[in-house]
Amino acid sequence: MPKFVLLLHGDPSAWDKLSPEEMQQAMEQYRAWMHKPFNVGGDRLTADAGKVMRTVDGQTKTTDGPFSETKEIFGGYYMIEAADYDEAVQRASDHPHLKMGTVEVRQIWEM
């Protein structure tokens, strides 16, 4: 079965405005999604912009992560199984993250 990653982008400060009860409700939705059979795993990234490394004139330079106009950052990813993009998108369509941010769906290259 082909694998896809769901890249979650969002503004981490969106959580600050929720009440404990609302957070718990959101958590329940994430939990339910996490246990779907096609979900193979995932990880959370720290809530910062990270570092960007590039080679300029033969020298590797490191700068702070990309600053975008919005406060959105790449916050984490899930890996799921799906037959094709259509199914992957359909499976991601009820992901609770879509209430707070965007989900980018990418297929993993298979040899």
């Binding site: 981490p12 959580w15 600050d16 929720l18 009440s19 404990p20 009860e21 609302e22 957070m23 718990q24 959101a26 958590m27 329940e28 994430y30 939990r31 999604w33 996490m34 246990h35 979900n39 193979v40 795993g41 995932g42 990880d43 959370r44 809530a47 916050g75 984490g76 899930y78 890996m79």
Partner: protein, 411 residues
């Protein structure tokens, strides 16, 4: 990569776990760091929960989520204190060993919560602030939820909380429990706040129903917290009994179409049996000793309503007694209803005379109802029309409109 459903992760979260823990952790942090750091405690709890929100959806819910939240909040609070200029070095005694949520800790937490609510009800704070602060710090409700429950705007509630916390800081109020007569007075003030919260939830106002029902259960929880402590008096049991016996009716008060169902028309098989037995359990405990409070009398009325046929003669006796303890117009209105049940509508109507409740829809509704029973259709219709002019909820409005239609149909 986080393993989904890995060993050591919990499958379910207890209902309202976050809100419950929020109150408990704030109480704990305030005990450890002092009331001057109430804001810091609240922020730390919020931050801990945000961290949980970021980690758990990927890692799974930890096996002991309470412990996870306690530890996270404690660490956030310590970091914030270290960073703040006021505290460069944390005093030895504040550096806590790892939090272990065991039975002993649970017990000390109950004590923390109790102290916290007793501080929220200090006489230095206004009655409305006591309610808002109790719900925020002990109940774990957000400003927006409190505002929604009380039909106020967020800014008003937020401002009240800021002011209340300033009073706490300026007067250096502590979590120390009062003693002797002051304990008595404070206990009464705490019970007042609890009953107010319950009534706000129970009254069929507009607003979000779920949040309102939560208010009833939070009031019940706080009442039981006190009834299970060493400072309990029979009146605490009476209040818990009263709230449980009223709350048992919650599932039957609104029908499928969202309309109000009067007590006498309710399907009693829908009443909550657990709340009923809880209510009678505390009712019996309330009868120990010679403490007689208004809660006792009201609990006796609620208990009598639990059995059919309803003993209206006893209920009237209780309202007579309540009226002698608290001669308010609202009590007199309820007493008039009991009089009409025992002696008929015209005696009930006579008992309404002289009550200054003309702007209160329930008064006008009762008067209309009694007039309708007496066949005074025109006067009854006038009364329901006047009631519709008053502030009330949508289900209540529909109820009044139906009654008004009854008057016109019969005529």
């Amino acid at each position: 990569m986080g393993d989904v459903g890995a060993p050591g992760t919990a499958e379910v979260l207890l209902e309202h776990l976050f809100r419950r823990q929020a109150g408990r952790i704030v109480a704990y942090l305030v005990r450890v760091f002092g009331t001057a750091h109430l804001d810091l405690a609240e922020d730390a709890v919020q931050e801990a929960m945000v961290r949980a929100m970021q980690a758990w959806p990927f890692r799974g819910i930890p096996e002991k989520p309470e412990q996870w939240l306690f530890r996270a909040a404690y660490n956030v609070a310590v970091d914030a204190l270290r960073r703040s200029r006021r505290v460069t070095e944390l005093p030895e005694e504040l550096v806590q060993p790892e939090v272990v949520v065991d039975l002993d800790f649970e017990e000390s937490l109950r004590d923390d919560e109790l102290r916290m609510i007793f501080m929220c009800c200090r006489p230095e704070l206004s009655p409305v602030s006591r309610v808002a602060l109790s719900l925020k710090t002990v109940g774990g409700f957000s400003v927006r939820e409190i505002a929604r429950a009380f039909l106020a705007d967020d800014a008003t509630i937020a401002q009240r909380l800021v002011r209340a916390k300033r009073v706490i800081r300026e007067l250096e109020l502590t979590l120390e429990m009062p003693e002797g007569e002051e304990l008595q007075r404070r206990l009464d003030s705490v019970l007042e706040v609890i009953y107010f919260v319950f009534n706000e939830g129970y009254g069929a106002h507009e607003g979000e129903d779920l949040i309102r029902q939560d208010l009833c259960f939070e009031a019940l929880r706080l009442g039981r917290l006190i009834s299970g402590s060493s400072i309990c008096m029979p009146r605490v049991h009476a209040l818990v009994a009263l709230m449980a016996l009223q709350a048992q009716r919650l599932p039957a008060r609104i029908n499928e179409s969202g309309d109000l169902v009067l007590l006498e028309d309710q399907d009693r098989s829908k009443w909550d049996p657990d709340l009923k037995s809880l209510g009678f359990h505390h009712y019996r405990l309330a009868m120990a000793g010679d403490d007689v409070s208004e809660y006792h009398v009201q609990a006796a009325i609620a208990a009598t309503h639990s059995h059919t046929p309803v003993d209206w003669i006893f209920i009237l006796e209780m309202y007579d007694r309540l009226h002698s303890m608290n001669p308010s117009s609202i009590v007199a209105l309820n007493r008039a209803v009991a009089i009409s049940k025992v002696f008929g509508a015209s005696r009930g109507l006579a008992a309404l005379e002289g009550l200054e409740l003309d702007g209160y829809f329930l008064f006008l509704a009762v008067r209309g109802h009694l007039l309708l029973e007496l066949g005074e259709l025109g006067l009854a219709a006038d009364s329901f029309r006047a009631a519709l002019e008053c502030r009330c909820s949508e289900p209540e409005r529909r109820f009044l409109s139906r009654k008004l239609a009854d008057c016109c149909l019969s005529g």
